[in-house]
């Protein structure tokens, strides 16, 4: 299982993601430069957080035109696993790999803080190791994280089990107050219909170390790392 972390100019959570996958999980992981077209044989592509190309237009709007994204789109179409965190999620939505869009936060301010999320179900590559009902403490850091999709899309996503994470309080209750940015239905993370492309606004890589006194993010990494091993077998 080889991971590839795509680096766009302005990516700034790339090192954090490389650190978790490479050091914490001891997985082979490589940097993929946005100008390249070679996925270097990776089995799992991660688009990290940051401000690709400065995000002066719409978050992720320019990054989707990078040469590497054409390869990522092909890779996903062939069933390859792709995960985007924060800016990565925004890029996946801009690229059409995920439904919906991420709008300015309801309070129109950038927000960085710990929030809680819980997995909707465990039938996914991206949630399998998250205990049912458990509220995970995962930080957010974004100005444009309000998930939006039209009613029909949202309805279909719910039916297909594409909503993977929702914002909740520390007791695991999905309440309006626990919604930090005004996302529809407290949505924090979604996948595509095929289930191989996943995006989330919170940063699990910021919650995966004893040094930071928060390892809740490892439930998510466990899901994609260990389930991968099982699935390959």
């Amino acid at each position: 299982m080889k991971f590839g972390v795509v680096i766009f100019p302005g990516s700034n959570c790339d090192d954090d993601m490389l650190h978790v996958l490479g050091d914490t999980y001891s997985k082979p992981v490589t940097k993929l430069w946005h100008k390249d077209r070679d996925l270097q044989g990776c089995d799992f592509i991660v688009l990290p957080g940051g401000f690709s190309f400065g995000d002066y237009l719409r978050s992720g709007a320019l990054a989707r035109y990078s040469p590497i994204m054409e390869e990522v789109i092909d890779f996903a179409a062939n069933g390859g696993f792709v995960m985007g965190v924060c800016n990565g999620f925004q890029i996946l939505c801009e690229s059409g790999l995920l439904p919906g869009a991420l709008l300015r936060n309801e309070n129109r301010l950038f927000q960085c803080e710990n929030v809680h999320i819980k997995a909707e179900h465990a039938n996914s590559r991206f949630t399998a190791h998250v205990p049912a009902g458990k509220a995970l403490k995962i930080p957010i850091a974004h100005g444009e994280g309000r998930y939006h999709a039209d009613a029909a899309t949202l309805n279909a996503m719910n039916k297909n089990g594409q909503i993977l994470y929702r914002y909740c309080n520390e007791n695991g209750e999905v309440t309006p107050k626990a919604n930090p940015n005004g996302s529809l239905e407290n949505i924090a993370g979604v996948c595509n219909e095929a289930g191989n492309v996943f995006g989330m606004m919170p940063h699990p890589e910021r919650a995966a170390s004893e040094d930071l006194s928060n390892t809740d993010g490892r439930y998510i990494f466990d899901s994609l790392v260990y389930l991968g091993v099982i699935m390959e077998k």
Binding site: N12, D16, F51, L109, E113, E205, R206, S209, D211, L212
Partner: protein
Amino acid sequence: MPTTVETAQELGLRPEEFEKIKEILGRVPNFCELSVYSVMWSEHCSYKNSIIWLKTLPRESDKMLAKAGEENAGLIDIGDGLACCFKIESHNHPSALEPYQGAATGVGGINRDIFSMGARPIAQLNSLRFGNLKNDRTKWLVKGVVKGIGDYGNAFGIPTVGGEVYFDDCYEINPLVNAMSVGIVEVGKTLSATSTGVGNPVYIFGSSTGKDGIHGAAFASKDITEDSAKDLPSVQVGDPFWEKLIMEATLELIPTGGVIGLQDMGAAGITCSTSEMSAKDGFGMDVWLDKVPMRQPGMKDWEILLSESQERMLVVMEKGFEKKFEQIFEKWDLTYAQIGEVTEGGNVRYFMNGELVGDIPAESLALGGGAPVYKREYAEPAYVKEIAMFDMAAIADSGWGEGRGKLEVGSVARQLAAHPNIASKRWVYRQYDSMVGTLNQSTNKPSDAAVVKLRGTDKSLLMTVDCNSRYVYANPEQGAAIAVSEAARNIVCSGGEPLGVTNCLNFGNPYNPGVYWQFVGAINGMGKACKKFGTPVTGGNVSFYNQSSDNDAVFPTPTIGMVGIMESDNCMTLDFKNEGDLIYLLGHQKNDIASSQYLVSVHGVQQSPCPYFDLEEEYSLQQAVKSLIQNKQILSAHDCSEGGLFIALLESAMAGGKGFDASTKLRMTEDGIWNMENGIQMRKDSFLFGEAQSRVVVSISPNQKEAFEAEMREHDVPCVSLGSVTTGNISIDGNEMGEVEEYSNSYETALETALA
């Protein structure tokens, strides 16, 4: 074009400075040269009115790897083959005019200073001061500055891990925006701002050069700029995306081994970087201004020289490395050009389309070289006498229940907890990415200083910014010593050892003898305290003229940025841990409410002396706290600062989701620790809300009581048993004061409410 003394004065130079320039050049300077001198000899670049005093600060330590003021930032050896590179800088004046860009470019500038040294920034802090929050302009400034810092720092991708925000009427016209950055570099892999080797190429890279931020321009002769002066914005515009790219490119240049010297383009742009780098090792430089990538056509030579367009770097490389460097610039899509080469002789020569437009000895421009140095007059201002008249006996104490002329303790407590100077700054820091880089250990474990992991080691770097400027106003020497002490105390209470200081000295007009008296006093106090704590001043910045004609000078505000180092094992947090843990107060008890937030906001007394402070007592206190932490005898430590003991207790309680039951009955003495007999008579307000210095609240496990008390007897530090940690209620002397949650709701939202 010949210049006159009038031109010089219009550019901000003094007549005697014009004479000196003529003497240096042996001729009358042309306008371009005069412009160069005007910016390089400005207060901002030359430190001409402060350098004499700055040199009296302790600036030596065996851990310092760069001489104070001689590089872009301070550099301290932190062990494990690593060095910490750090600096604080002001961006006050731009922020007063255009808070968003002013603050943003302040963040950009300070981070460039760090990566210019070859260090990768890992954390940022800031220290902000504004006027009265009731005024719409203040709200506009706060929102703009915070958004500016956030947008820049967040996109740049370095976490903001700490800071302070104060409000006082004295900052109404002149807000203060001080930004600090801290970086890490392997010892021996740093870059220097130098230029050597005749024939070596000089490159500019980063953004192209435009007409923004040309300070002298507004004053420039109309004859020259009639057609262009109108479109010169005086405030620079920042672009964090470019900053990120030039940082990555800069850090990629280092391993090539081809970098001779490198400096960012800050104040005075190309002028400053070319002359300072040349002056450093006595080389000259030919600079071809027409080769500089420009944003617009038709820029004049002096405009190119003085432009403060952001996100630009100057690098001198070893000849032969051009291709390698250009590949790196191209990888990061940066604009770049060779704009000159190193020459013999020590003169910087500026050419425009082959024509020599300026020829100046670099040394004569640089700080420590030919730049003027002044000794200013100073005199104690009149207000100092008024302060000395303060009589605490005329202030009614607070007590339990209304009546008898006494204020209710509970209502005072609630008022203070919701005061913007004391209340949570969550509204501010929530807009900063505090976690990118995954090194900020304070997110889930709060302590008095910010704690940043040094990955690959068993250590963390601690950092803090501190200054209570009201204290400095009341007594510059004591106040500045307190600022240093509080910074050190914050680091010690977090489990660390203070290492070094960077300072940002914000004052009024230095030509005002009263202001200069404050400056001299502050330097003296800072020097003494830095010496005591073994924390040399590694660099920083002076910002004078923080006053306007229709307003007095701001409070003298010598902001202290301090870094320290901690063994992971010593990590100490400020939150109360368990119900039933015992709470103690370490430090001397004094009947003192002077300059407290309580005295100012509850009693409306604006002028009073500096709070009680004794440097030796402070030092002993910190030694005691250090050994308590190392001996694992305490569970939390939090120092008393604004709002006094009550607020310190409340903050520890809120952070731990607990409450406290405390007694103000005197169970302490001046001389002994456990003798309950000889207590001094304390005013209730002084005990709870006074800001006498050098006091720390600790909590301990009940089964550690004997070991703790035995340890405290070893130290010459008084210790008071205050009470114990409760599940969530607050009780003082048996008076129920409500649940911590009630306080935390207003504490958390007060600032947001005031800004609405």
